[in-house]
């Protein structure tokens, strides 16, 4: 099986409201950027895969428009997942491993500003028994936060520290949406949205897009002297029935730890697809990252492009390893309420 490396990544500046700038206009600059960085064009790409959600655009087949951002003449080998683009990366990796392509372009995009994200995410639940109650995404996350606090797996102070640290880290991320510092007093004064989550504990409504290029071991060195290898990648899902899940732990994260043998790896950096503050200390403990710099980009708390934030975690980890000459990075992507579906990626720079 061929090894696969990340060779390029570009992210649009995250916007609170892109207005009339449509999805194509968000995707095109990042695809052009990553191509320009690598000195390539769509002709050099063997497989293209994107991740998006029709409901964010409010139209069936909305992803089709995304194709207008790239060159499709002559026709291309292409596919689309209605998932975070981290899973588009996963599909692309399979295509390279099977020998169907040597290079792949992955892009993800989302505009949450035009619609009502709470209503849209409500529709991820059981359509017969749960969705009619319109549980919003913040209340669902609060359920897990409450359990984690009650079981003393995390503390309120850790949540607050996460928020403050995210804003501090955002100062070093030119694409971050929220960069204002938050003091402890300011945090404590923020009103509760859904107990125990305050406004600052939740991600901002965000618009944006990102693109990534990956390559097989045969091709990677054509693009860069410094490919970052996908050493391991693992994902799995939990039940949709919140009542049958133990929200105080994560069997899917544990599976990834076992399958990727993470306990043997000394990570230098980690980026987690943690949309809510309580998820950061929770996952850091599960993944044994307590002493590892985590979410140096600020993470989703300072900019959370739906369908793209998971790919961004992988892209930011790639950038850390490539730019800071680090060896091992851990990236995480997730989907569904209360971290239902988790992906863990082990990236490595070979010395």
């Amino acid at each position: 099986m061929k090894k696969v490396a990340v060779v390029g990544y570009a992210q649009h500046k995250i916007l609170p409201n892109a207005g009339a700038l449509n999805e194509v206009e968000l995707i095109m600059p990042v695809v052009h950027k990553v191509f320009k960085d690598l000195g390539i064009s769509q002709d050099d790409i063997g497989f293209t895969c994107s991740g998006s959600c029709d409901y964010l655009q409010g139209a069936a087949f909305a992803f089709v428009e995304g194709l207008s951002a790239i060159q499709t003449s002559p026709p291309i080998k292409e596919s689309h997942v209605e998932m975070d683009a981290a899973w588009a990366l996963y599909e692309s990796m399979l295509k390279i491993k099977m020998g169907d392509a040597d290079t792949a372009l992955i892009y993800g995009f989302g505009k949450s500003s035009p619609g009502n994200l709470d209503s849209i995410i409500s529709l991820q639940m059981d359509p017969y028994y749960i969705s009619p109650l319109w549980p919003d995404r913040i209340s669902l996350a609060a359920l897990q936060a409450q359990i984690l606090l009650q079981k003393k797996i995390i503390t309120h102070d850790e949540m607050m520290a996460t928020v403050i640290e995210a804003r501090n880290n955002a100062a070093n991320n030119p694409n971050a949406l929220l960069t204002d510092d938050i003091s402890e007093d300011l945090y404590r004064a923020d009103s509760l949205i859904s107990s125990p989550l305050r406004g600052f504990d939740c991600p901002p409504i965000s618009d944006g897009a990102s693109a990534m290029v990956i390559a097989s071991e045969d091709k990677a060195f054509d693009f860069t002297d410094n490919p970052i290898w996908i050493e391991g990648i693992d994902h799995s899902i939990e039940s949709s029935n919140l009542g049958s899940r133990d929200l105080a732990t994560s069997p899917t994260i544990q599976t990834a730890i076992d399958n990727l043998k993470l306990e043997n790896i000394n990570f230098d950096v980690a980026e987690l697809h943690t949309q809510f503050s309580h998820e950061v200390p929770f996952l850091r403990k599960l993944l044994n990252l307590s002493n590892i710099p985590t979410n140096l980009s600020g993470g989703p708390l300072v900019g959370n492009v739906m369908m793209c934030a998971g790919l961004d975690a992988i892209g930011k980890t790639f950038q850390s390893l490539a730019n800071d000459q680090l060896d091992h990075g851990l990236a995480h992507a997730s989907s569904g309420p209360c971290l239902q579906h988790n992906m863990v990626v082990h990236l490595e720079r070979h010395k």
Binding site: T72, V81, E82, Y90, K95, P127, I237
Partner: protein
């Protein structure tokens, strides 16, 4: 690349309203049949790949989350594919890629649509800012392409009626098919009202509820089972509004077909392929795709239909199961083509079996005739 094959196909019965089952019940019905046919238990399933057309058809966002339990994915990797109408085919290709990559031994793949939960023509007519709202549905969208085909090649008017009658006659031999119209013939089709010139009511696909599942495994885990070996598979996409695009005979379809023929070592598709399940949601797409897929020269496709070559007893049978014209749970319609092709080479197609079928083709298309997925399956691994 690791060789993969289909060892089980499961389909629900197709109907306009499957009120007896939930969405979860619908997908599970197809999965149970596929796993029974494949003779495997849940612990043998390494990953689950779910496909369906837009979430707006049912109003469930990213339904792999809600369906995780019903599709047996809990504790396993799950991927959700959405490539418009071609999704059933693309999903099969991606499921097989899981095995061919060497990352997984056995995968379960399932596609579905429960159109009765919503209104497909509404969902198919998106309203975009700064764009005129066409509100055409699929038939209104494709009718101009068909009119252009007729302008180019001057086929007689009854070709569309003939395809529509032939596929519904085939459906009478497939107990799962949605439309069962005893005595269906060209006259009955031609007597129905005009919907979108030149398409009459019975020249259009129905709206169906249904699901189709397959179990795909690697060569070394097949055991003594019946297998449809995947000899070639490919996808192609082209932009909706690419300059110079020929919507009637899209380059993406031509390229995709050439790709799978090359992988399978097929030089003359009409001679070497025993039968094919092709995505024909509107009658005229049979001759249009016959040409696009290289079964004949341009302008000759309607003659194959006219001569009866595409009938069950013809030399190039097309849509033996009744096709999309007889059952159309959109998200599953592509996988039904792929699964029916597999059933033919496994010899399991019962009353609509083509005798001694050894090589079969599955085909799906979607979007504005811009997304293509195809495969070739064979009764032999070599």
């Amino acid at each position: 690349m690791i060789q993969a094959g289909v060892i089980g196909v499961g389909q629900t019965n197709y109907d306009s309203k499957r009120r007896d089952v939930s969405m979860a019940g619908l997908v599970r019905e197809a999965i149970d049949k596929a796993m029974l046919a494949a003779d495997i238990e849940w612990d043998a399933v390494d990953a689950v790949i779910l496909g369906k057309a837009p979430d707006m058809f049912e109003g469930v966002v990213m339904p792999e989350l809600y369906l995780a339990d019903a599709i047996g994915a809990v504790g396993k990797p799950v991927l959700r594919v959405h490539t418009a109408g071609s999704v059933g085919g693309s999903t099969a290709v991606i499921a097989a890629s899981h095995v061919c990559s060497g990352q997984f031994k056995t995968v379960l793949t399932v596609t579905f649509e429960k159109q009765s939960e919503s209104n497909a023509t509404w969902a198919l007519s998106p309203r975009y800012p700064y764009s005129p709202h066409i509100n055409a549905g699929a038939g209104g969208y494709f009718a101009p392409f068909i009119r252009e085909y007729i302008r180019r090649h001057k086929p007689p008017e009854h070709i569309g009626w003939k395809v529509a009658a032939k596929d519904r006659q085939n459906a009478l031999k497939n107990p799962l098919a949605h439309l069962q119209i005893p005595g269906i013939d060209e006259k009955m089709v031609s007597d129905t009202p005009m919907l979108w010139e030149p398409l009459r009511y019975l020249e259009s696909c129905p709206s169906s509820d249904g699901a189709c599942a397959m179990v795909i495994t690697s060569k070394d885990t097949v055991g003594p089972r019946k297998v449809a070996w995947i000899k070639g598979m490919a996808v192609r996409s082209e932009g909706t509004l690419s300059a110079g695009r020929d919507e009637v005979n899209p380059q993406g379809g031509i390229d995709c077909a050439k790709d799978i023929y090359q992988q399978a070592g097929i030089l003359n598709p009409r001679e070497e392929i025993d039968c094919a399940e092709i995505y024909v949601p509107f009658s005229w797409y049979e001759p249009m795709w016959l040409e696009n897929l290289g079964f004949c020269e341009l302008g000759e496709g309607w003659k194959l239909t006219e001569q009866g070559a595409t009938a069950l007893n013809g030399d190039m049978p097309i849509n033996m199961s009744g096709g999309v014209l007889s059952s159309n749970p959109i998200g599953a319609s592509g996988m039904i083509r792929f699964g029916e092709a597999a059933l033919q080479v496994m010899g399991l197609a019962e009353d609509h079996q083509i005798k001694d079928a050894k090589i079969a083709m599955g085909h799906a298309y979607g979007g504005a005739a811009q997304f293509f997925a195809m495969w070739i399956v064979s009764s032999s691994p070599d």
